[in-house]
């Protein structure tokens, strides 16, 4: 991870949208009044959702909203790499996982595709629609290689499917998230191989519970 800096070019100002404002208030209410600043991470998320990235005026606006010193907000925003400090692609922000399992399964190839189609890593594409980044483990190792695009995971990728997804986004579609080999979440390819017997979960093997562990002891039978 390299040093994280605020973008050189910053917007003049930042204003919370009505929706962001309402959601921020909801988050702030979750904490005691004296602990307003606990809401800083959710609100940074909301701001990023609204603008696509976290700008310097936004950091100041959050500081004022939460009664925090600006530097405290900056500390949080620079600590977490999930907060984008520079403008990112409006259509798609592609975060390719480059950690060991994905790398072994061909993440480098995915990045090559991204580089061909979009341009350099961490750089906004010329048309302003795409950015791609290499990120650390996103926790979907069983579906390696994978990438997170905007809010969703695209898994079991190949250079071809990656290219297809980028093309689809470029064409204005929103490709369906999930595995590209058709499996359900992280099940084995071709469907589950264990725990397939429906009786395991349809209730037919369930035994009637005579007494719950903490229930009243059964009333003693009256002596004959």
């Amino acid at each position: 991870m390299s040093v994280r800096r605020l973008a050189k070019e910053q917007p003049e100002s930042f204003a919370f949208s009505e929706d962001t404002k309402a959601k921020a208030e909801w988050w702030i209410k979750k904490y005691p009044e004296s602990r307003r600043q606990s809401a800083v991470i959710p609100i940074l998320w909301l701001v990023q959702k609204q603008e696509g990235w976290v700008s310097e005026p936004a950091i100041r606006a959050i500081g004022e909203l939460l009664g925090m010193a600006y530097i405290r907000v900056l500390e949080v925003a620079t600590f977490y790499t999930m907060f984008q400090l520079e403008p990112v692609g409006k259509t798609a922000l592609i975060q390719v996982c480059g950690t060991t399992p994905c790398m072994l399964r061909g993440a480098n190839e995915l990045m090559r595709v991204c580089k061909e189609k979009i341009g350099d890593k961490d750089v906004l594409s010329a048309d302003g629609r795409f950015t791609w980044q290499e990120v650390e483990c996103l926790g979907a190792c069983s579906n390696a290689p994978m990438a997170q695009i905007n809010d969703y995971y695209y898994e079991d990728l190949t250079p071809e499917t990656m290219a297809q997804i980028i093309d689809d986004f470029a064409a204005g579609q929103s490709p369906k998230p999930g595995s590209r080999v058709g499996r359900h979440t992280s099940e084995p390819e071709g469907g589950a191989r264990v725990l397939t017997d429906p009786t395991l979960y349809d209730g037919s093997r369930a035994k009637k519970i005579k007494s719950l562990p903490n229930s009243q002891p059964a009333a003693e039978k009256a002596p004959a």
Binding site: R4, A69, E75
Partner: protein
């Protein structure tokens, strides 16, 4: 008290102490970088690792581990040694080997501890990281590659100074200490982060590359930049004072120092008066001491006693004031005054002009009313104490005067004397219900025509709400000048029928006006023959008819009484410049020429006379417990009218001739805007 074993020896400790403190109490030094007694515990340098039983079989950070009854602490086992060597090796991985060009060299914690606790060599062969320099303002020079991320500076600025400007951004190897977008640190205590920095990452910008610590002759003395009398150590090389550092005094400055006290020393080398001058045909010319003193003496002898007067300045030592006062009284003059700002104090009991609760004592107050003072600019270290009391949650604070950012929350009660005349009930209540209420009154409230009436009203309020009672005296006058309390203690005020400062400055009032280091008054209107005795070619020297070069505070041994009434002795660090003499000796020489020879030949004799006449001066380094006194008798009843209280300090960095001669102070004054006045609600 609970008992723990440190290296097999039983040690008693107080509940709540950490393992590190217990080990120190047992006499075992624990190396540390991030831990500091006066800051919160961070536990991020890992240098203080020790072995503790019972507990997991691994080294533990002793600074953050509470000590417990029956605990066994080991500070000298092979495990601890190995742990320290390991931590040190990691710290040095990214620390540059630039000690030969580093200002911290010679007084660097990392250097010392690397020698004491580190391995003999490095096994690291990769590239070191480099970090961009940061701007933090005129007082702090950064070399961020040297930073070991102890976060002492972050914690000091946030907790003690109350100005959360510094932070640590990014993380891991990318972590950097910086201010928000590299703005200047907006604190009057910023210099302390340079002291706190255990490495050479933050160093004193004004003294950058000026000295090596081992070249300096260190003298323990007293600061005169404000009225607190902070304990300092002045380090000199040859005839030049190179730097000023704080000394620990729990009662006054703890171990901090304000930027002005610290960085104004470069003013000691500029604008100095090193020869006597006499005005001839409208122009000053260099003269001999004989000529200059004779010129003064002939004017004084020619004038009648009620046509001569003296004003003492803010930086004067008690001895020179005493000599001057005795001389003018011997000449029959009643026109003597040391209150350059014209504050209406100095009558009645001594408690009437002291900070009675003591600087340390203010932390015990549970209600503080600040009237006509801006402690942040007038006495930054007092402000840090008030902030400490506020942080503890024990003190409620009210302010009458300017509405400025004091680094803590307060109830703003009003702007001036009008509010005092008709105090809101809430204001009276919060003082009444307090157990130890305190009133801090600054010169801003006591100057002008309403000064005496304001003092009287405050006295009445103090009596009403119980500010002065058995075992507690919370009536506090906050002075802005180091010399003021000493002057008032010896009665350097107009005698019966004498003129005060304003009276003496009026055109035609005097024939001879003697300015004893008095630079804060505008004497241009006075048409008297003006004599200036002082160290700097500043306001007082401009327009003077005779200039007698005196010694600055680092160039003479002298007594200063701080705002609490604590007498402290300053020591001579270097000799006066050029032909300049110590102030008392000049007065003594003058006395002989005017035929009123003062009865002392040495400083010791003068001191003995001073202490004989005013026994309070004999109690050096002693803080009298705030005695009970008739607080309602202060001042004089009068019309409070409607005057807004404004601090007498216009620019906190340019309050005296030394500061005005200092380049650093000029820079600070220009860069650091005056505290922002909050919008009135």
């Amino acid at each position: 008290m609970p008992i723990a074993k440190v290296n097999g020896v039983e040690t008693e400790f107080e509940p709540g102490m950490t393992v590190l403190q217990v080990a120190e109490r047992a006499g075992h030094e624990i190396p540390r970088f991030c831990y500091h007694e006066r800051l919160s515990i961070a536990g991020n340098c890992r240098m203080c690792l020790v072995e503790v039983k019972p507990g997991p079989p691994k080294p533990q950070a002793s600074c953050a581990l509470p000590a417990a009854e029956g605990q066994e602490i080991f500070t000298d086992t092979p495990m601890v040694k190995k742990a320290r060597e390991g931590v040190m090796e990691f710290l040095l991985i990214n620390h540059p080997l630039d000690c030969p060009i580093c200002d911290q060299g010679g007084e660097c914690d990392l250097q010392d501890q690397a020698v004491g606790y580190g391995r003999d060599g490095s096994r690291y062969g990769e590239n070191k990281r480099a970090v961009e320099e940061k701007n933090m303002g005129p007082t702090v020079k950064t070399f961020m590659t040297r930073c070991i991320q102890c976060t002492r500076c972050v914690r000091f600025i946030t907790e003690v100074a109350g100005v959360p400007d510094i932070g640590m951004i990014s993380r891991g190897e990318g972590a950097e200490i910086t201010t928000y977008l590299e703005k200047n640190i907006d604190s009057e205590l910023s210099g302390n982060v340079n002291d706190l920095c255990p490495v050479g990452a933050l160093t004193h910008r004004p003294w950058q590359y000026h000295y090596r610590p081992w070249e300096l002759k260190k003298t323990e003395t007293i600061d005169v930049m404000d009225a607190l009398g902070s304990n300092i150590r002045a380090d000199a090389r040859g005839a030049e004072v190179m730097r000023v550092l704080p000394r620990v005094n729990e009662g006054i400055n703890e171990e901090w120092l304000s930027d002005k006290s610290r960085y104004a020393v470069d003013g000691l080398a500029r604008q100095r008066l090193d020869k006597p001058y006499v005005r001839e045909n409208g122009k000053l010319r260099v003269a001999s001491w004989d000529e200059a003193l004779n010129a003064v003496a002939s004017k004084i002898k020619a004038a009648s006693a009620d046509r001569i007067g003296v004003i003492a300045g803010d930086l004067q030592d008690a001895e020179s004031m005493k000599a001057t006062l005795d001389l003018f009284r011997a000449l029959g003059s009643a026109n003597t005054d040391c209150r350059q700002d014209g504050a209406a104090i100095g009558q009645g009991a001594r408690e009437g002009w002291l900070f009675n609760s003591g600087l340390q004592g203010i932390e015990n107050a549970d209600a503080i009313l600040i009237v006509g003072a801006n402690p942040r600019t007038e006495a930054p270290l007092l402000n840090a104490r008030i902030r400490k009391a506020w942080l503890k949650g024990a003190a409620e604070i009210g302010v009458i005067g300017e509405q400025v950012d004091l680094t803590y929350d307060y109830n703003y009660l009003g702007a001036g004397s009008k509010t005092l005349g008709k105090l809101p009930k809430a204001a009276v209540d919060f003082l009444t219900k307090a157990e130890r209420p305190a009133i801090i009154v600054g010169a801003g409230a006591l100057i002008g025509d309403t000064g005496a009436a304001v003092l009287n009203a405050l006295g009445a309020l103090a009596k009403k709400v119980g500010v002065v009672k058995d075992g507690w005296n919370g009536f506090n006058v906050l002075h802005t000048a180091a010399a003021r309390v000493g002057g008032l203690d010896m009665g350097f005020v107009p005698a019966e029928g004498g003129l005060d400062v304003a009276g003496m400055l009026k055109p035609g009032a005097l024939d001879v006006l003697f300015l004893l280091g008095a630079d804060e008054v505008n004497a241009s209107a006075s048409d008297a023959f003006r004599v200036y005795l002082g160290s700097h070619g500043d306001r007082g020297a401009h327009g003077a008819d005779v200039i007698l070069p005196g010694a600055a505070y680092t160039e003479k041994s002298g007594l200063y009484v701080n705002t609490e009434g604590r007498v402290q002795m300053a020591e001579r660090v270097v000799f006066p410049k050029g032909e300049a003499k110590e102030d008392w000796a000049i007065i003594r020489a003058l006395s002989e020429r005017v035929g009123q020879k003062l009865p002392f030949d040495t400083l010791e004799q003068l001191r003995a006379k001073l202490m004989g006449d005013h026994p309070t001066f004999g109690r050096i380094d002693y803080l009298a417990p705030g005695a009970s006194f008739d607080v309602a008798a202060l001042g004089a009843k009068g019309d409070l009218s409607d005057v807004a209280f404004v601090s007498t300090i216009v620019d906190p960095y340019l309050t005296n001739p030394i500061a005005r001669a200092s380049e650093t102070m000029a820079e600070l004054s220009a860069e650091r805007t005056a505290p922002v006045v909050l919008a009135a609600e």
